[in-house]
Subunit: 213 residues, 2 copies
Amino acid sequence: MTTDEAEATRPVTRIQREKQEVILEAALDVFSKFGFRGSTIDQIAEAAGMSKPNLLYYFKSKEDIHAPLLARILDTWLEPLREMDPAGDPLPEIQSYIRRKLEMSRDFPRESRLFANEMLRGAPGFYDILHTDLKNLVDEKAKIIKGWMAQGKLAKTDPYHLIFSIWATTQHYADFDIQVRAVLGRERGAEGRFEDAARFLDQLFLHGLSPKK
Amino acid sequence: MTTDEAEATRPVTRIQREKQEVILEAALDVFSKFGFRGSTIDQIAEAAGMSKPNLLYYFKSKEDIHAPLLARILDTWLEPLREMDPAGDPLPEIQSYIRRKLEMSRDFPRESRLFANEMLRGAPGFYDILHTDLKNLVDEKAKIIKGWMAQGKLAKTDPYHLIFSIWATTQHYADFDIQVRAVLGRERGAEGRFEDAARFLDQLFLHGLSPKK
DNA sequence: AATTTTTTTGACCGATTGGAAAAATTCTAG
DNA sequence: CTAGAATTTTTCCAATCGGTCAAAAAAATT
């Protein structure tokens, strides 16, 4: 009953599923570059290889294309953090969190930029979630990290800013990709850049910059 | 003669200087939130407290408002890096670079976001500068850092990624301000947040997360 | 005070925007 | 093959966009 209702609300034929995917894919390209306000339906339609009215047959407004993209992202984005295991060893646990986050930057740069765009304009579509789901998750993980620190398994620092610094350093490679590439030149391909980044971040987070005496 | 010419090219009366400043100030507000394409002249005009045609009397196009803002920024933005002194002690030198960069994030968040917006859309107005001025400066400073490492005054890591990580962590507090605030709650004011960030970044970059044995 | 220059306003323009409506087409189930 | 549903195209619309222009108003100069 309710299942029928739900399916009736968003009826999905084969072609609908396909085209909706194509549209979201195209919209991700466009929105991630220009943000919501800077993107146009025509632009998305062209990227999706269809006419604007045809696109509007599948999503009835610009907002309706944008919203599911956002909803999808935050979840994906926080998955690596959710996976951080309180039962594991602190340093390897954090190390692999950084690694996973960096891989997401490499594999989903558009998603990262879409998220960044949303933050820059004040996250109007995210505001509630940030203060509830996100905050709760970070609070929970911060507590775990604090526990590790109390056990002497981790240097004592602010766990919140630790998480911020992991977000910042990893996402930087997606969001500021242009800058990173300009500075590094084309001597090293994308894979190489991410390998170097991974190595550096390991060093930074594990030992910092002080020389071993 | 040439001076007269130059002044004649951009004649500046008292009221022109003032209004141009007001406009750029308002434009920074708007552009930093919505990016170039997402911002409208009307929006800027309203923020500047004048009519659109009046604004266009001072800047003849949207581009003409945007361009000087960008030009102004990159210079300001790289100043802290320029100040990094090869003759100084490595660790304090890097530490104070981080501090200066963090202060810029605190004091000029809109500039930071404008810059981020420009990067996200592929930095069309920055492309040349990134590959010349920026790359040269970073190359130069990377060489200095490498020298320090060779002298054993600094742990051996990739100097480029070190610089990236400093950019990323410090700018994060401006660009993702909304998220940072949502997570930290209002228990601690803006000053407190930046103090905590400064302390954490010192710890991270100097010693990393490994516990002292 | 008269005049010239600078600033502001209001009315307007063509292009682009997000979107609606309906006709034309294609697909699919019987 | 055919009726009905799903999809696509064509045409259109009001609002907003970046920007122009001439006239009015305000300042500055004489």
